[in-house]
Symmetry: C2
Subunit: 342 residues, 2 copies
């Protein structure tokens, strides 16, 4: 495919123009798919490009266009698997294109969050940025992108933005459905571990729980509610509190899998058998869900597919206009859920 030897310089647009007997600008038009081009000319140029193995130089394009072919991924999500899945999803969408993915972890609590993002965008002039929750829920960041004239897509679990800037999952409905599943197994007293305040996903998942409780007339009250921050440790603490209450819930829904693993940990410490004495459902379908014992029933969050869609929205203008992108989460049934007994 590439039989040049070391350091023979790569062909430039000038070489193509000369060999094709046209001007640089015409070659440029071919590269950029200009509509006003004689078909014969186009084919001739295309042929020379192929023969030479010519590839336009992204740096030069970036300078002339004042816009880089970089997709920035802005995230502050603490979950490694989520972040990696998103990266792979984005890369899948831009495979074999001139685009590259650059990584920008941020701290959404830092006072210079906005300054950092501004510096990045002004300096690198990325083609666009994709934002992961929870930082994607920050409207100030989106406003900054608009101010800087930088294209962006936000991933989230609610209607955060207009359709061209949004890829959304339906967490609320998915949790409602999961709780319904527990109720169908006979559970009436179902504990709920919310995610951290300030996470929209946490809010949506809690809303789904509330919907189900109201709809099905399940037990309610402060004893069945706790909150964590999506980490194993906080899940452990929250689970301990719920399990030490009397009467104890027969099932617990955790707003993510890491915390659910913490609940399992708490149950084991107390000699509570899962699923015999306690059913648990998590959220995300992270790898840990399948790896703990017993394997955890969970709501699959199609984050990689969402990321792929977000990248396509950024890169393909037609795709951006194609309307809202809503991704459905579904329940994965494993071994951590059983019927109530007693």
């Amino acid at each position: 495919m590439n039989d040049r030897k070391k350091w023979e310089p790569k062909p430039t647009i000038n070489d193509v123009a000369r060999l094709a007997g046209v001007s640089k600008k015409t070659v440029s038009r071919v590269i950029n798919r200009s509509p006003l081009l004689n078909e014969g000319t186009r084919e001739k140029v295309t042929g020379v490009i192929a023969a030479l193995g010519y590839v336009p130089n992204p740096q030069a394009r970036a300078l002339a266009l004042r816009r880089n072919f970089l997709i920035g991924l802005i995230f502050d999500n603490p979950n490694a698997q989520t972040v990696l899945n998103v990266q792979l999803g984005v890369l899948d969408a831009i495979r074999d294109t001139e685009f590259e993915l650059v990584i920008r972890p941020v701290d959404r609590h830092s006072p210079d969050l906005l300054d950092g993002i501004r510096a990045f965008i002004e300096m690198q002039r990325p083609y666009g940025v994709i934002m992961l929750p929870p930082v994607s829920e920050n409207d100030a960041v989106a406003a900054l992108c608009r101010e800087l004239d930088c294209n962006y897509v936000r991933m989230g679990s609610a209607a955060l933005d207009a359709a061209p800037h949004l890829v959304q999952s339906n967490d609320r409905q998915a949790v409602d459905h999961a709780i319904g599943h527990l109720a169908a197994m006979g559970h009436r007293r179902i504990g709920f571990i919310a995610g951290p305040e300030g996470f929209r996903s946490a809010l949506e998942r809690e809303a789904g729980f509330n919907d189900a409780v109201a709809r099905l007339g399940l037990d309610s009250g402060p004893d069945i509610r706790a909150r964590g921050n999506y980490t194993f440790e906080t899940g452990h603490v929250a689970g301990s509190r719920l399990l030490d209450a009397a009467p104890r819930p027969t099932a617990i829904f955790s707003s993510n899998d890491e915390m659910a693993a913490g609940v399992l940990h708490a149950a084991r410490e107390r000699g509570i058998a899962v699923p015999d004495d306690l059913s648990i459902i998590g959220f995300d379908d992270a790898p840990i869900a399948a790896h703990i014992w017993p394997p955890l029933s969970t709501v699959r969050w199609p984050i990689a597919a969402m990321a792929r869609a977000a990248a396509l929205k950024l890169v393909d203008p037609a795709d951006a206009q194609a309307g809202p992108s809503l991704f459905m989460s579904d329940l994965i049934e494993r071994a951590s859920v059983g019927t109530t007994r007693g």
Copy 2:
């Protein structure tokens, strides 16, 4: 810090030159820290740069230098936490510089692995690339980097390359020490789960086990050896095999934490108590190690620090000459190891 309004164009080197009353070239010399510069001139220019908030345009620099300010991270490691830790380590090293991190997952078994990397380097002309194991162990990729005149650093668990191109951990010695710890707790029959063939890290860790067995005269033979590919599932299978042997090992060392979690799973299925009836040690100190029950003793692999060092080697020429970078792994003691009984 930045009080310009929307779309006032950013200052260029020309603006700086004009206001400072010098030529572009002089400004350029200031930017690039040229030694032959009158101190007064330098200060004057620096002052104007600060006053204007001037930042050199990376795209223009890339075009002129024929080299981008991108660090490529080439990896095919399946472990999300490892990959993310490496990313954060690299980003920590290049924070507040003009460098950016771009992500290149690859498939080391793909026939066009080299073509893909060649295309990336020729097209993007990154400042340098960092390679994670196991793809870092592929000498053909390193040779390609040299051929393309692209700086690179390999991360690995053995002396894969010359010092300027290598950041190394001492897996062999660390495993030897961990096995020694088990022996000190009275274990004589210690099972070993190797990593996948073709991983240098797997080879090194196995060598460390062999060293310890020979040194301490521990039990040996095929019944105490199994192999997995660093995933939970293969750890489960390998652990099952070891635990079904007679006599059964009183301790198992797994070449990574994921597989160790699989061993724990296998033990639980058989009613074997950990650590009472079986001690387990893993490798990596991945988050899962602290999250499973009982918390897993493991060898910490300082991968983020290694990544940081790799990035510094790439970015700072002085650092690259500073000699070999060897990182020590140490044993983290948690609750999965106990003394033998019976």
